[in-house]
């Protein structure tokens, strides 16, 4: 058992990190913190997950989120997608393994991956609306958010959602308020089978190694860690029984990377600044960036090239 993190205390505690520890800030030039804090990570072991949704409920409770009561659409997912109030979601896949002939129920907790190279932050035109701390946590600063939704397009995992109520984008904070006082995220604390563990990124990688060995001993020869290099690794990682086929797990990206449009956009705004962003958005040239799907398509590649050549 990964040693449980001691209970939180009912007294004020000084935050262990804050604005002084920023290493990235959307649409801003900042001097990153001189000394980087130990990098943290949440490890989600899909092979231990029973799909109970304790993580979803704990997330709602801790973050004071009120989600609507929906309907059943013939599947176990509820709500049916991430929303401005549901920052994490269990996704279920019934997979008949052609090799073993056995049915496998692959259940994945979806949510922000806290990329080391966050596409949302890169795509964000609002200064300081998205920040990254030196421990790796990517957080949204709602006061600065303009609700443009570019973060969704920038995200290779399709995670942020813009609220229709206040027109701000929302996603998992990795419970930055809990981590700041030495706790793990609420979902990790709740997880009944310790399918979610939290610690330093190094600890999590070591813990994952142990789990992968166990899975290999049970015949899952392709078991492995999902820490995709296309985004320079993530601070939310998965242990997968079929690490060779991430896509099996409700479409987890096989090779996530930031859309070339965003990469282009990032370069563009860096020089032109906010006024240019407003101008470009005004022309509607990038409308499809927010309206379209966020998977990197051939079309995107061409579009990026076209924009770059302009």
């Amino acid at each position: 058992m990964f040693p449980p993190i001691p209970n939180p205390q009912a007294k004020p505690i000084e935050a262990k990190f804050g604005d002084k520890d920023l290493i990235k800030r959307s649409a801003s030039n900042i001097t990153p913190a001189a000394q980087r804090q130990t990098q943290v990570a949440k490890l989600i072991d899909v092979s231990k997950c029973i799909g109970c949704k304790a993580c979803q409920v704990a997330c709602l409770e801790w973050n004071n989120l009120t989600e609507e009561v929906g309907i059943n659409t013939g599947v176990y997912e509820n709500p049916h997608d991430l929303t401005p109030n549901s920052w994490t979601l269990m996704r279920y896949t019934e997979y008949e393994n052609p090799e073993s002939g056995n049915l496998e129920w692959l259940i994945r907790k979806d949510g922000c991956m806290h990329c080391e190279d966050p596409g949302c932050l890169k795509a964000c035109p609002a200064p300081g609306a998205i920040v990254q701390y030196s421990n790796g946590i990517v957080d949204f600063v709602h006061e600065n958010c303009i609700g443009c939704g570019y973060c969704i397009k920038g995200c290779p995992f399709n995670i942020p959602r813009v609220s229709k109520v206040d027109n701000k984008a929302y996603k998992c904070t990795l419970c930055s308020d809990r981590v700041a006082v030495g706790q793990g995220p609420a979902c990790q604390k709740a997880c009944p089978t310790q399918a979610i563990v939290f610690g330093t990124k190094d600890e999590m990688k070591q813990w994952a190694d142990k789990r992968i060995k166990d899975l290999k001993s049970r015949g899952y020869n392709n078991a492995g860690l999902y820490d995709p290099p296309g985004v320079q690794g993530t601070h939310v990682m998965y242990v997968l029984h079929h690490a060779d086929k991430p896509n099996l797990y409700s479409g987890l990206a096989d090779n996530p990377r930031i859309s070339p449009i965003v990469e282009f956009w990032k370069g563009f705004t860096k020089y032109a600044g906010l006024t240019a962003m407003v101008a470009v958005a005004g022309f509607g040239l990038l409308h499809h960036v927010v309206a379209g799907a966020n998977r990197v398509t051939e079309h995107d590649e061409q579009e990026a090239k076209r924009l770059a050549e302009k």
Binding site: A10, S28, A54, A58, E143, A186, K189, A190, P192, G273
Partner: protein, 198 residues
């Protein structure tokens, strides 16, 4: 609310304000800049912590319950619940029921006051505790007097009240269970059951 304020003051005092190059362009003043910290105030600061046990299944997960005095009701009310890391069985974890127990405590369908539905009526009406308890006691006594059996046909003392039934809740404490046993059997009820069979 107070906690939030104190947290913000703390941030400001700590000189944690940041001023990005383009922030001003969007019209943020200095005060807002200080508010721009992403990290939410720690919501358990200034609460009271009590150890409890989950009311749902028989794993009996340990819970840590945080509460604070409500200005509205002047009562201690629960603000947050999470698993008790010290508990040897659940080790701080909770399932989706336990993790949502706060929503049970403040459920929309919580009964706020005694309610009474008259025979043939199509609605419940609020009544006083005194009314409800007096009426129930009277109904019970009437029936007990009508149907209590002191001796059976063979002359054996049986002290049985067979026309009154009691379903005893299995999420009550042991101590409640004992009072329930004592009262129901003391009155002579053989029809006493709990959820063990179902």
């Amino acid at each position: 609310m107070n906690m939030e304020l104190s947290r913000r003051q703390f941030l400001r005092a700590g000189g944690a304000g940041i001023a990005g190059t383009t922030l001003g362009a969007l019209g943020f003043g200095e005060a807002e800049v200080a508010h721009a910290a992403a990290i939410r105030p720690y919501k358990l600061a200034m609460t009271k912590e009590v150890r409890s046990s989950c009311p749902y299944c028989a794993v009996c997960c340990g819970m840590v319950v945080f509460s604070a005095k409500s200005e509205k009701t002047n009562k201690m009310e629960v603000t947050h619940i999470e698993g008790d890391s010290d508990h040897p069985v659940n080790r701080g974890t909770l399932c989706p029921k336990g993790a949502g127990a706060l929503d049970y405590i403040r459920a929309k369908t919580r009964v706020k006051e005694p309610m009474y539905r008259k025979a043939g009526s199509d609605k419940f009406e609020p009544v006083s505790w005194d009314f409800a308890m007096d009426r129930i006691a009277k109904l019970m006594k009437e029936d007990r007097d009508a149907n209590f059996i002191e001796k059976n046909k063979d002359g054996v003392t049986v002290n049985r009240w067979p026309t009154m039934a009691f379903l005893s809740g299995s999420s009550c404490t042991n101590e409640t269970g004992w009072v329930t046993w004592k009262v129901t059997r003391g009155l002579g009820m053989p029809q006493v059951e709990n959820q063990a069979r179902i």
